[in-house]
Symmetry: C2
Subunit: 219 residues, 2 copies
């Protein structure tokens, strides 16, 4: 049976119920840990599910920071140092990743509190999550305040990219499922994936076909 | 073996290779069809993987429109009528959904060309995708031009929400996996999901635990 809520039904829901529901309807989401440090190298690690691809040339991604949350430590550090890391989450440490969302004090590092290992490399002033199979170092590019609900869009450019070389296909596609990356839905649900298929570039007068196997081979 | 690309390596890659790679590293993405119509009720349907949750009160979501793509028909219709639908994609019609990304002419409706059924309801001037188990009708709220790479962020507010009632849990979480929603990675890879676990709200001094089963029951 199909159920229907209109705008008035939605606004009449209990706040926590509505948060769970509206966070669910956006679909499956990118799940990443963002690592930062302040000028004194006090580290911070926070889980985000709002990473969005902006473009490949230059390689830009964006994410949303919500008002009055622990994520603000992340924002403050990014604005202070201009850099941050984005790290994929795997099944082997997703509970630790989730635990980074607790309201730790600024003096507590989520790395220490959750047991995720801070990895310093590439002469970069932000810590990577060692347990992550895919890690990126980004430079902050732009902050856009979304006045409609006091969220903030942060845009950064990829400067460093680490990944397992057996997951890179010959056409540039990175097999993140093979790398163990997981996804999430709602505020708290974690999911593994099973590939159905890669599909070839769609053209108006052709049927959509699977990507030829030769491109799906590892590079 | 871990492979490493720095910023210079990335800019030296073949354009298509880089597009595949950078589109992959953002993680798994929300996969939705956006339905629109112009003032003359000429319909359009386009696949997007950049939906992002902005907030629950009011219920806002955003997505990115890329420059010079077929997605521009979507943007033009939204600006013309002020409304659009967001529809989840299931395994049963993901090939049709992918096919909507072909460069059809403005006079061709992707509904007709791909065999996805336009559904008119809730007195709304935008078509829903009948095959979708989760459908939303949104009112346009704001356009933000991201000058850094000529993409556009579109913000809308949910006015209508349709979903299978056996997928709604007692705490408001909507089980989109049970509803058949799939996810995507890169530009062309489609994936089913398998839930690992829902985890309870994280607190600094407590271990993260699964969400109690009573909240996971259907409402």
């Amino acid at each position: 049976m199909q159920k229907y809520f209109n705008r008035i039904d939605l606004s009449g829901l209990d706040q926590r119920f509505r948060a769970n529901l509206i966070n669910s309807v956006g679909g499956f989401k990118s799940l990443c840990l963002i690592g930062t440090a302040d000028k004194e190298c006090q580290t911070n690690l926070a889980i985000f599910n709002s990473i969005v691809h902006l473009g490949a040339t230059p390689p830009l991604m964006a994410f949303i920071v919500r008002p009055d949350t622990v994520e603000r430590h992340t924002l403050n550090n990014i604005l202070e140092t201009g850099v941050y890391t984005v790290n994929h989450v795997s099944e082997s440490f997703y509970q630790k990743a989730h635990q980074t969302s607790a309201r730790y004090k600024k003096s507590q590092s989520e790395f220490n509190e959750t047991g995720i290992t801070a990895e310093w490399k590439a002469d970069f002033h932000a810590p990577f999550a060692q347990q992550s199979s895919i890690q990126m170092g980004l430079e902050f590019r732009q902050r856009i305040d979304l006045l409609i609900n006091q969220t903030v869009l942060i845009i950064g450019e990829i400067q460093h990219l680490f990944f397992p070389d057996n997951c890179l296909c010959t056409d540039g596609f990175l097999d993140i499922e093979k790398a163990g990356t997981i996804t999430c839905s709602g505020l708290d649900s974690y999911h593994k994936t099973n590939r159905i298929q890669r599909l070839s570039y769609a053209k108006p007068d052709k049927l959509t076909l699977p990507v030829p196997l030769e491109y799906q081979k590892e590079g």
